[in-house]
Point group: D2
Chain length 328, copies 4
């Protein structure tokens, strides 16, 4: 049984708290959050305790940490945990500044602790199945990858201001997915974007609609299309075209009920947002991290993966601002 | 080039007129209809002539007749055509009275002319493909056949009164389809029905909603579900369950456009009615009859098939009235 | 927190054990099973104890019992639990003999304890949604109900022999579903069946393929089609046709990945069997029973519902054997 | 009745011949082709005559010309026809060299004859319906347009060599579609491409897999993904995301039959290629041109549209070669 200290009692922290508590090999040992009420409320729910950062990080009973706190605390917490030889699960991103990420990963390397970055979509059963079928040669070599990722509705302008921008906040998942599926590092990137959904996002210096094209050394190409608003739920689809055909992973609908009437056949929307769509992915990634803690596996999604995805986000931004394809 | 005399210039006669004219081996030679205006209008459209019954039937230039006139004229016209050695395509049914059908088929037999009964659905590309896949062993032996047949909206009470009743008018197609797919004659039949759609249909002594179960000597069973009104277009589906799996033939939608919005994903309705859904079937059955006229084939759908489907309709009615399963 | 004694540590007992343990208002207090190893294994998993029947039933700490033991023990256990004023959740059926059911329900009535019968499908989110949309008038009055229920593969002949026959064992769920959806008691029933899947089932005196038609006082009709083997997973679909259109609840596929290649577009099978398909239904029905225990609800699915479904199964068998429609 | 001289008796000429002959207001007057056998075979089929270019173009009986000959003859024939005041339907492209196109259109303007360019996909009922629903405000303002266009299998290297390259030959349809749907001229374009399908295509200096991003003045963006080979038929899909939701036009499947078995649910492929998928589009565009000839309409798809699509193809090529986004 591994005791886990959970940093962050917000929305995503609550998802992880449930998965930690439900896993037969892990126990929610403590909750750490700058907001005492949030921390205590979550701790109470799982009949566990609240700790301060230093207390948790130096507690010899703590085997692993799950960092789901504010983005700007990730790198510091990772380093602190590494120095205390805790095994680390950290939500993406490590940091919004790639230099800081690089320095942080050096520290992790020095202390030789496993670090898993929570790119949850790699554990979505649909995308995982697509990847497995591709890896077993079902469609031959990869040629074209199309990633559709659209949120149901835009975040607040306040969130946008501290998010690091659309590429580092939202598209970063898709950059990781493209690397994961194709299994190569891209050699060029081009990004185009618009502010169409909410003028406040534009005023905050960001875009809300983005198209990206990447090319890989094998000649395969990937297109990512993003929007901060779909109008119909969370749109998460992948198409991978290969020599012999297409593998596609479609949306999961809210239910299987259809209404057929004079105006047409009405089916359910895609599941609303990431808490619904990626519920199983969060459970599966936690199970993987338990295997890492138990030395049955090494992190499938490492600090390097986190750094590379951020690097692509930075380069996409450079392309957007320069109007040029960037060689990588 | 075969010259065809067309009896009946109504809705279904017009469908056949186009197919006769468009077929490279047939020519619409003349149109016969008790309503002179209808006959002339159709003849004018195809730059051909109007004839009287006797004139057409005895015209040595006429190679084949297509009987799409009122139901109660079919048997007389078949006999007349047989006596003049014309090849005969007749819309279903031969007659609403099975004794009359039997007598008519005797006459046809005597004059040794080919008679094709237009059970158009056998030529629907979807159902034909299902049948072909079944015949080639795709799902092994047949176990359960489910036929769904629902009209978009009910006919007038006037039509109902002369229709011979729901089983002889509408379900007859499904009886033929069940025989066609399974390839056996059923050994029992049970029918249940209701008047739910339009009280006027009930007042005319008929039902508008029907469920039928038939059993075949091999143990396979068929269920037919009918309604005079779907509310969403023409619902024409078949499911055939066999030892190894299921073959299903779904509806054809009006188009492939979908609208995804907050209330759900809206797709198109099924095609509206038989003129749309079975357009290709009418063309294909005519092509088969041309092969019959050219001695390249014998009628796949014969007078016997017409008689058997009517027999099942009669027995379904007997079951409905008696509340008993009828042994055949 | 309600303490629950679980009778039966088999496949379905294990499903309930997890749901009891995971529910925030219930606790798995003890496990009772004639096989000591099964009982101990399950108790160990949830860190709880094993009890004997009498011990559990008379334990004042036990608030509710969940009966998931062998079918022939249900009625006895219900009566025992009622006499000790325990609240009762019992898997279907109460008993295979309707007289015994009737007597058992009398006892329950006498002791005034709530009894919930686990017709799990009523809690399937798909069917529940269909029912809710129907109840809110989406399609107007019900006209035709089509229930498709096919198991992935047949049970052993040993199971068949003690199952009470296909109607009491399998179709009973569909009888309940028809009553639940339509909201009326049927007034006639007709059943037809075959032994097509496995000769051993026929030798055990049972059928493995069944078609049933029921008529309701409003004129609405229901057709149930069953098979002990689909060849493609668990086929659980409902179509409800009303005045204004159709509500359909389709299968849930194992995943959303498709492979498009030269031979066609391959999608996933329906989920394999009831453990997968009705996972959420088992959770939801348990949540309902917790509401019953907490006096926030009365059993939506009562002993009477269990009795009526069995009555329809008995009458279906009478119809099958007599070849007649049975008036109810 | 308009008499039509058809230039080109090849694959696409034969499609048009049938549509000309079947239209109630047009008559296939003559066929012109450098290959006498092809010309005569087609003329014989429609019981019409063969003409030489000059003969047809100066024949006072000819009301309109349909140019479906080799690409490099289009501009010359258009000019010749314009000078003889014939109404002109020309297959895309006018010419592969944009200067030549420009000069040709000047001539057409001078002689004031209507010129329709056959971008057939604008007349596909699916895409047309999507466009209509968008124009009527169904999803609000356009934000993202995704065009998928994949051929079933690659052309020969010989064809590739004279095709003008993938952008001018294949993507040109998608450039036109993007302009048609969005209703604006793009202000920037970026193209990326690979040679993955057939090395011979690369040796001929061309690509076979392409991704293009365009931005429009309103901020809307379009992504086009192309391949010379899908492995599963002709993949022709459009997604248009707007403020309120998504309009998508999916593929048309070869049939509606599905096979459900243990390995999954197999549905039909998309229709094989343009002759099948765009059969109705060819008929509809011809009907539009008949309206143009009868002065009931002006060309919806003009020489200017042909020029603009070619311009975008040229700029895409410039982007591909320079690795830069091109401002338009």
């Amino acid at each position: 049984m591994f005791n886990i200290a959970l940093f962050g009692a917000g929305r995503i922290g609550q998802v992880h708290a449930a998965n930690i508590a439900n896993h037969k090999e892990t126990c929610l040992y403590s909750v750490i959050d700058p907001n005492p009420e949030s921390a205590e409320s979550l701790a109470r729910k799982y009949q566990t305790k609240v700790q301060a950062i230093e207390q948790a990080i130096s507690d010899p009973e703590v085997h692993g940490v799950l960092i789901a706190s504010a983005t700007d605390t990730h790198a510091d917490l990772i380093e602190l945990a590494a120095k205390h030889h805790k095994k680390i699960f950290c939500e993406k991103p490590v940091h919004l500044d790639i230099e800081r990420v690089h320095h942080c990963l050096e520290t992790v390397k020095q202390y030789q602790v496993p670090l898993f970055i929570g790119f949850n979509r790699r554990y979505d059963p649909q995308f995982r199945r697509l990847k497995t079928l591709f890896d077993t040669g079902t469609i031959g070599k990869a040629e074209s990858l199309l990633i559709t990722s659209r949120d149901p509705s835009p975040p607040s302008a306040e969130y946008v201001k501290v998010s690091g921008g659309m590429f580092r906040d939202m598209t970063i998942h898709d950059f990781d997915m493209a690397r994961f599926i194709i299994g190569e590092e891209p050699c060029s990137i081009y990004a185009q974007g618009s502010n169409l959904v909410d003028p406040a996002i534009g005023q905050a210096g960001d875009i809300d609609t983005a198209f990206i094209i990447m090319k890989f050394p094998s000649g395969a190409m990937a297109a990512i299309t993003n929007s901060r608003r779909s109008g119909y739920g969370y749109d998460q689809r992948i198409e991978l075209h290969g020599e012999k055909g297409l593998l596609s992973a479609g949306n999961i609908k809210e239910n299987s009920v259809e209404l057929w009437e004079n105006t047409g056949c009405l089916a359910a929307r895609p599941e609303h947002f990431f808490l619904q769509r990626y519920r199983e992915a969060y459970i599966a990634e936690w199970d993987h991290f338990v295997n890492v803690m138990a030395d049955r596996a090494t992190p499938e999604c490492s600090g390097f993966d986190g750094e590379q995805a951020l690097y692509l986000a930075d380069k996409a931004l450079e392309s957007l601002h320069s109007g040029k394809e960037i060689k990588l």
